[in-house]
Symmetry: C2
Subunit: 351 residues, 2 copies
Amino acid sequence: AGPFQPSEHQHVRYNPLRDDWVLVSAHRMRRPWQGQVEKPPQEDVPRCDLSNPLCPGAVRANGEVNPQYTSTFVFDNDFPALQPDAPEPDACDHPLFQAASARGVCKVMCFHPWSDLTLPLMSLAEIRAVIDKWAELAVELGASYPWVQIFENKGAMMGCSNPHPHCQVWASNFLPNEARLEERTQRQHLQEHGVPLLLEYARLEAQRKERLVVENAHWLVVVPYWAVWPFQTLLLPRRHVCRLQELSDSERDSLASIMKRLLTKYDNLFEVSFPYSMGWHGAPTGPHLGADSGHWQLHAHYYPPLLRSAAVRKFMVGYEMLAQAQRDLTPEQAAERLRALPEEHYRGRPR
Amino acid sequence: AGPFQPSEHQHVRYNPLRDDWVLVSAHRMRRPWQGQVEKPPQEDVPRCDLSNPLCPGAVRANGEVNPQYTSTFVFDNDFPALQPDAPEPDACDHPLFQAASARGVCKVMCFHPWSDLTLPLMSLAEIRAVIDKWAELAVELGASYPWVQIFENKGAMMGCSNPHPHCQVWASNFLPNEARLEERTQRQHLQEHGVPLLLEYARLEAQRKERLVVENAHWLVVVPYWAVWPFQTLLLPRRHVCRLQELSDSERDSLASIMKRLLTKYDNLFEVSFPYSMGWHGAPTGPHLGADSGHWQLHAHYYPPLLRSAAVRKFMVGYEMLAQAQRDLTPEQAAERLRALPEEHYRGRPR
Ligand SMILES: O=P(O)(O)O[C@H]1O[C@H](CO)[C@@H](O)[C@H](O)[C@H]1O
Ligand SMILES: O=P(O)(O)O[C@H]1O[C@H](CO)[C@@H](O)[C@H](O)[C@H]1O
């Protein structure tokens, strides 16, 4: 078989943030694909459609009329998975049948009044407005809720049911699974190594460079060593920052810039509005605001499903659901491809 | 808000087998769906197509010609994610960059010579042949490999790229994530409660009945209390059994019968060949064969993605990937719907 080459020889890699493993079998890219082919995303979304409940002036499910907003616009999700007032479940009668209360709020944030303007096509000032609103919601909802999950589902392939560019914010009275996991692994890493896990990781990746996609004075984006999705990335500050709301003015400006660069590359990869789910993770809030959060480092995960083209995605199914995630190209190969792409958007801003 | 009702009031439920939680927000079923609509699965698969590498007499990617098989047919995956001879990765130079060797084999098993015959349409004797072959492979590959993952991806929606009914078997020199998790939780449960987790769980569900879908002398199928996918089920033996190969003759016959009943109900739910990923979990093998495995209980997980109809699936995306799984109907509601369905297949066996 010759000496070990990650792009030739399958191996497993450890994800220290989730304490699990991924199987990397890069030679699988040679497998011909005869499975499901995806519909390309709708390219010509009308700028304003009054029948779309996310547009300025449109009527929403609850009968309210949206204002003629000119920047971001936040409203309560009309079909929230979390509500502030659900009653407590009955006491559990057995350890194998445990339920607990779930309370919270779900908000929707439109990024911009235009339905045809996605984040990579927005100006830096427009993206900055989104970042400021994220920080504002993190403060507002984080005052009482322990976890405020900001996330964007982009593209129908990622379960997004409305083409108007938007994200969601779900705040809960509990720490969700992923938060509990990252809480544990980051706490343990700081205890054992004396430095926050993702701060150390960012420093090392900035030196090693082979998984770097874009970087600037305050931020870097890497395809993490343990990436599961083909073009998964991790957006990391260089400074130790626990929560979005702690970002300085210049850090927010340079975040807008690095987001625009990353998302432009994503769109350029297959010349399509690139689908993904993304979200922010930072130190817990609410009752945790007083506690020591030094083990946390703010970061965003981007999970895009496309693998070979705009029409062929990676399926995380049988083996992945029952045993372990498996990927078909190395993180280094993915990073190299993203790095090589232009930072000019293939379509450009619509006029 | 009135007294707590699981079908009205969101709550979280604990999964003792994975040590994590699921958010149940059943009122979300009222949300109108305007997102992605799935193509219905191909209904008229030709019985024999010599250009399909899984058919009797067809030529595979490696040039081999399939025999004129008349029952199951097993061959080595022509594009394996795991191979027996990959070299060892270089020693890790940092705890945040850990790789390890991955060696194994990947096999494909055709269930029957006919491409138009899925499991629910097969006779009990034909299904029994599949079960016997599973047990045989579990013994053969389990002689040296610690984990033998038997799984079926059914339907293009679940990443299946060939309509000929088949499953896969991936054996590895490592315990995959899900195996490690269930190893830990089952071991701990036995230590703390003196009874295997899933043995106790099956006994309780057999009494409570509200999540039961089908049962017979040796087996039961429930929508587990902590189900994540809308119509997810768990297939459990009543007796304490660690591995597939330990099943007696009559247990195998009644397994064939309960599989046929479950899968017929699945197809009848939306009158479509029901997509899912399924797989078997049992005690580790290879070097673990000598160790005490009393905490393990054999079981199969079925993870079907459809939610509202043959065309509308559940997306496990933003909140689910970044925070926690969320479901839109209660497990009890799902079980009730499955229970109410006829056990006669809506199409019947093709002639
Ligand atoms: O092995 P197949 O059928 O070619 O591929 C399918 O199952 C594999 C194992 O779950 C997945 O990794 C692939 O993404 C999926 O398309
Ligand atoms: O909230 P939406 O956009 O209606 O719904 C989408 O995102 C949710 C949160 O990730 C998921 O639970 C849904 O399955 C998905 O379709």
